[in-house]
């Protein structure tokens, strides 16, 4: 298992929201917990069953941050070998959930 930490600056804080979870820690899947953070920017902590993919996570998460432009988030991920596409999907889902958008 590998633990990775990322932080991205910039973005706009969302409307207040309650801690929100999407996904399941199952093979090929991941769970994402998003909570409000008083800090600017976006902090993402990842526990992943697959080792050696730090650069891929960096790329996927940076892309996520740039796509949504949201600050004031603390995101925690438990990953069981999801592909980048599934990771991006879950992140999009959790943002939709905190914005009250029905998928």
């Amino acid at each position: 298992m590998e633990t990775l930490h990322f932080a991205f600056d910039g973005g706009t804080a969302p409307a207040p929201f309650a801690p929100t979870l999407v996904g399941v820690v199952a093979s090929g899947n991941l769970e994402v917990l998003v909570e409000p953070s008083p800090d600017t920017g976006c902090r993402i902590d990842v526990d992943t069953s697959a080792r050696g993919f730090g650069a891929v996570w960096e790329a996927v998460l940076r892309d996520f941050h740039e796509r949504h432009g949201i600050a004031g988030l603390s995101i925690a991920i438990h990953d069981m070998g999801a592909t980048p596409a599934v990771v991006s999907l879950r992140l999009d889902q959790v943002i939709a959930a905190i914005q009250g958008v029905t998928p």
């Binding site: 298992m1 979870l21 399941v24 899947n29 769970e31 917990l33 069953s49 438990h78």
Partner: protein, 298 residues
């Protein structure tokens, strides 16, 4: 129809209870996770694979737990088990109308071995305390992984077991049996054999499940509502009767026969047609004598 089997535990929970009524205890943000998984290089789950809390069902107060079969096969670890025990002990104090468990589990979480084994036993004792207190206990079994092992035992300690026709409820999975005694004993790749030995249709026909439904979230909700008033007190007389019926049923298969043969001996007409029938068509075929082993009617 919304497939219950394809939903996550939290989706099933949301579909089961009255809309918006679920209040979770020890939610994911509290990070009450397993202390044992990191040493095995396995990521934890924020809820350790089970969501618990209170809700209403048709306006009535209930406690609920939903096991996530996708996480560690729904296996019961130390924290997961303690959440269930806490829920059951709280039910003794707060006295909801029922405790409902959406059960999907392989049993003891092997990654937590001894701690999981003791935890399963604590859940069993706590469940029987709730049942003895007259609070309805309901197991809803409809996930792809089924309900096995120690959870298979625990689930059958409840007043009511609801199964979909595609679910399974048993002790040991077919792979474990094949591993021990060969494919001749139990061919794990023969899906039809596996389902007629441990699946919902078989459990319904032989009296080991109380309600049979389609793989549909709304059907599970309706069955749960009906189960709110379906307590079955465990008296000496009730257990003596169950003992006799279980032995009589076992005696019907003294020659290690297949499910088809057992169904015929139980009095099911046209046993061979059973696998092709849906829940509605199958339900009336349960012999009256078998209904004594479960509650009568769906």
């Amino acid at each position: 129809m919304h497939s219950f089997a394809e939903m996550s535990a939290r989706e099933r929970l949301a579909a089961l209870v009255d809309a918006g009524s679920f209040h979770e205890w020890l939610p994911p943000s509290e990070r009450v996770t397993s202390p044992h998984l990191a040493q095995l290089g396995v990521p934890a789950a924020f809820d350790d694979g089970v969501a618990i809390g209170r809700a209403t069902l048709a306006g009535r107060a209930v406690f609920v737990a939903a096991q996530e079969g996708g996480f560690m096969g729904g296996g019961v670890g130390e924290v997961h088990g303690a959440k269930l025990v806490g829920l059951l002990r709280r039910a003794l104090r707060d006295r909801p109308d029922a405790v409902l468990v959406l059960a999907e589990s392989g049993g003891v979480r092997l990654h937590e071995a001894n701690a999981g084994l003791i935890a399963v036993s604590e859940v069993m004792r706590a469940l029987l305390d709730v049942r003895a207190a007259g609070i309805a206990t309901v197991m809803l079994i409809g996930g792809a992984n089924g309900c096995f092992g120690g959870m298979g035992i625990v689930a059958r300690c409840a007043d009511t077991v609801v199964m979909s026709d595609i679910a399974r409820h048993a002790m040991s999975g077919p792979e474990v049996i094949e591993s021990a005694h060969g494919a001749g004993e139990f061919d794990s790749r023969d899906r039809a054999l596996v389902w007629r030995t441990t699946g919902g249709k078989h459990r319904w026909l032989c009296g080991d499940c109380d309600v049979l439904v389609d793989d549909d979230a709304a059907a599970f909700r309706d069955a749960a509502i009906a189960a709110l008033d379906a307590q079955r007190p465990l008296t000496l007389e009730a257990l003596q009767q169950e003992s006799a019926l279980l032995q009589a049923r076992a005696d019907l298969d003294d020659d290690n026969a297949d499910a088809f043969v057992l169904w015929s001996r139980l009095g099911v007409p046209d046993a061979r047609a059973v696998p092709d029938l849906d829940a509605d068509a199958l339900r009336p075929l349960r012999p009256a004598a078998v209904a004594a082993l479960a509650r009568g009617g769906a």
